[in-house]
Amino acid sequence: MPVRSGNSSVFVDPVMVAQRASSFTRRSIKQKAKIEGLRLAVSMVDLTTLEGKDSPGKVRALCRKAVRPDPGLEGIPSVAAVCVYPAMVTVAHEALSGSGVRVASVATGFPAGQTSLESRLDEVRSAVGDGAEEIDMVISRGALLTGDASRVTDEVRQVKSVCGSAHLKVILETGELETLDRIAEASRLAIAGGADFIKTSTGKVAPAATMEAGLVMLEAIRDHFLKTGKVVGMKPAGGIRTAKEALHWLVMVKETLGNEWLTPERFRFGASSLLDDILRQLHKQASGNYAASYDVPEA
């Protein structure tokens, strides 16, 4: 059972969270606000491929797409990062060098995290050594669910200590934690361990990035900021596939944390198919017609 510590709220009421989260989906984002929002969303994408069949060729194609998502459209920024398995970091690092797009790597026995801490730390060291500028780690959900909260914080702290200058994103895997109370608790533990970002999911477990889980995490980020003045970023990942959903998230971030968080340095989308839907929407805004899937270049 989570307990109240200091003056930070620990209890989360799912009914009101759902009500508030759905209010963000009812904002009307049109015209200029829509185009700007979608461009902003492109700049926040961590373009991701995390499959057993990933190959250097696939990763290079993804990297080209990341740098220039759509040559047919003007004013489209590069995405924020390309996110791959550790074995693909070298390829991504080469393909992206000088582009400004960062290389992110999942590590720590992704997605389950069920390997020894030593081998998880080694994995991080080697990914960073190969050129990963961002590390997406998973927490030990089993430990958290059986009441060993300090292990979660401690492992985050240890991973952080081997990250060097790489940014650390901590994946809570909200779909496995299930309750918003646990998600709030995990957010605080990850932040306490030194997370630069907290991230909802691996994308391998459903439900992944729900608005409700996201709101609770954003509120944890806000509480930490109000208390310490320190900034933590947010990354929803998994399940966000449409431009419309991306705008809902931007609205939620804006109205919970303010415009200051609407930057790739503080907010990311972990996604693979989202980018194409955003590009199709931008085509629609530019030409008035819906683009066919073949109008948008493949990765």
Partner: protein, 493 residues
């Protein structure tokens, strides 16, 4: 958004720095006639005096239309039309009565957009509220009561339910169409005929409803709608031909009506003012309680009889609650009621704005500190007030005791549950209350000791046609909605 959140932003935000929503005005424009007569016996007719009054949009001060002012002679005509219609209406097969209610409900749904825009133009409330709450809830009340029409004998087992007869209904300006539905739907379902008087400042949706009644061929005289001000209401309420009077409005007027009807056999229900407590315990889900405070006091500009206008916060969490409340309040968007992103619209009338300002001045004089939405400049025209809360309020202050009926929250504290209950119940009113705690045993204990008609636990301002609504003490008597609400429109034999 929040200066404290802004202070340490050092990142490169060239893209996101200025991401603002574009204006998103609702495009639908309802047809509004230049002038409306009184709706008597199924027709729009000229008021006998020929007198008209203007109705303005509180957000632009633009004159939208003019409507008739009913006098005693018009009231007489309407009551006798209702009396004549009653003979037939009370005898038609209940399932046929139900069909009319269902038709009205469907027609409201079909014209939902138009009605929502009209409501926001005439009353100043944000379109997201009229679109998502007022209009759908109005339709729900007709659907719900349509369902009861042929089951009334089962509502009160062992008794036979008979219509009361002719009902006069006087409604307020805060939920014009919804209050019309709350009043008309149960009355018709129970076989009564109606004379409805909408509020002086918000007559248009009631008149749009009259057009709907014509479209669904409701028999003439079953519902009559008389526009006008206080004088019209007074002559309607004192007409000798009534069997029932239902009033929603101020306690002051409600008391007068009760006095006038004392000793007569006219049935009376009153839904009056409130100064409802919203109690936040230290074991509440604070972030969600903040949403409850917002829904409680800034919904519909605070023009809500059950608004959670007295906030009681346990002293251990008061700093956290106020910090988060202020942050959240600053995110409210105030302005054009027809903009789909507006959270708080215009104050309903100049007179109401003056009244609310009077309370703010008094509150400050008594030593309270005012905190309001800073936000962008408000429009020059129209009646506007920034949502606000007052700290340093003592239970004896006027702003803690009298109904302000505006976006003004009085914040007070307590130390123990016993003290919370004592302070919450220390009011002449008893319409609603809110309790926020994640601890089940506390919720049941406190809720059962609050003297209020509705107690919301970990939520606020939720309504449903099947759930009875009404007050204790000076908040009135009688219930609306649910099986309990039928009772006011039936004689049980």
């Amino acid at each position: 958004m929040c200066p404290r959140l802004k202070a340490v932003s050092n990142s490169n935000t060239e893209l996101g720095d200025s991401w603002e929503y574009e204006p998103a005005p609702e495009g639908t424009r309802p047809e509004i006639s230049d002038s409306y007569g009184l709706f008597i016996d199924g027709e729009f007719v000229e008021p006998s005096s020929g007198k008209m009054m203007k109705t303005v949009s509180p957000s632009t001060e633009e004159v939208l239309s003019e409507v008739g002012v009913a006098d005693a002679e018009d009231v007489d005509r309407a009551v006798s039309a209702a009396r004549t219609a009653s003979a037939k209406w009370r005898r038609i097969a209940p399932r046929e009565r139900a069909k009319y209610l269902f038709r009205i409900a469907r027609r409201i749904q079909e014209k939902a957009r138009e009605l929502a825009v009209l409501e926001s133009m005439d009353g100043g409330k944000p379109i997201k509220e009229s679109r998502d709450i007022d209009v759908p809830e109005a339709a729900k009340h007709f659907f719900y009561h349509g369902g009861w029409a042929d089951k009334l004998d089962y509502a009160f087992p062992g008794r036979q339910a008979k219509p009361v007869g002719v009902a006069a209904q006087i409604i307020p300006w805060n939920f014009p169409l919804l209050m019309a539905a709350w009043k008309i739907a149960p009355a018709l379902a129970c076989g009564n005929t109606v004379i409805l008087k909408p509020a002086e400042t918000t007559p248009l949706t009631a008149l749009a409803l009259a057009e709907i009644l014509q479209e669904v061929d409701l028999p003439p005289g079953v519902v009559n709608i008389l526009t006008g001000a206080g004088k019209t209401g007074a002559s309607l309420a004192s007409h000798p031909g009534l069997n029932k009077l239902a009033f929603t409005g101020s306690t002051e007027v409600g008391k007068k009506l009760a006095e006038n009807l004392a000793g007569t056999d006219v049935r009376l229900t009153l839904e009056l003012g409130g100064k409802s407590p919203n109690i936040i315990f230290e074991d509440a889900s604070i972030d969600q309680a903040i949403e409850g405070i917002v829904a409680g006091i800034w919904f519909n500009q605070g023009h809500v009889c059950c608004a959670g206008s007295r906030l009681f916060v346990q002293e251990g969490v008061v700093d956290e609650v106020l910090e988060k409340l202020d942050l959240r309040m600053q995110s409210l968007r105030i302005g054009d009621p027809l903009d789909k992103n507006t959270d708080v619209g215009a104050i309903n009338s100049r007179a109401q704005l003056r009244r609310i300002r009077g309370y703010l001045t008094q509150g400050k004089k008594e030593g309270a500190e005012l905190h309001r939405v800073r936000g962008p400049k408000l429009p020059d025209k129209g009646f506007w007030m920034r949502p606000c809360y007052l700290t340093g309020v003592q239970p004896a202050h006027v702003v803690a005791r009298e109904e302000i009926f505006g976006p003004v929250l009085s914040v007070m504290t307590f130390r123990t549950p016993e003290e919370a209950l004592r302070r919450a119940n220390n009011t002449p009113y008893g319409l609603a209350a809110g309790v926020w705690s994640d601890k089940g045993s506390r919720i049941f204990d406190v809720a059962s000791k609050l003297k209020a008609g509705v107690v919301w636990c970990n939520t606020y301002n939720r309504f449903d046609a099947s759930s009875p609504f009404g007050g204790f003490k000076e908040s009135g008597f009688g219930r609306e909605g649910g099986r309990q609400g039928l009772r006011a429109y039936l004689n049980l034999v």
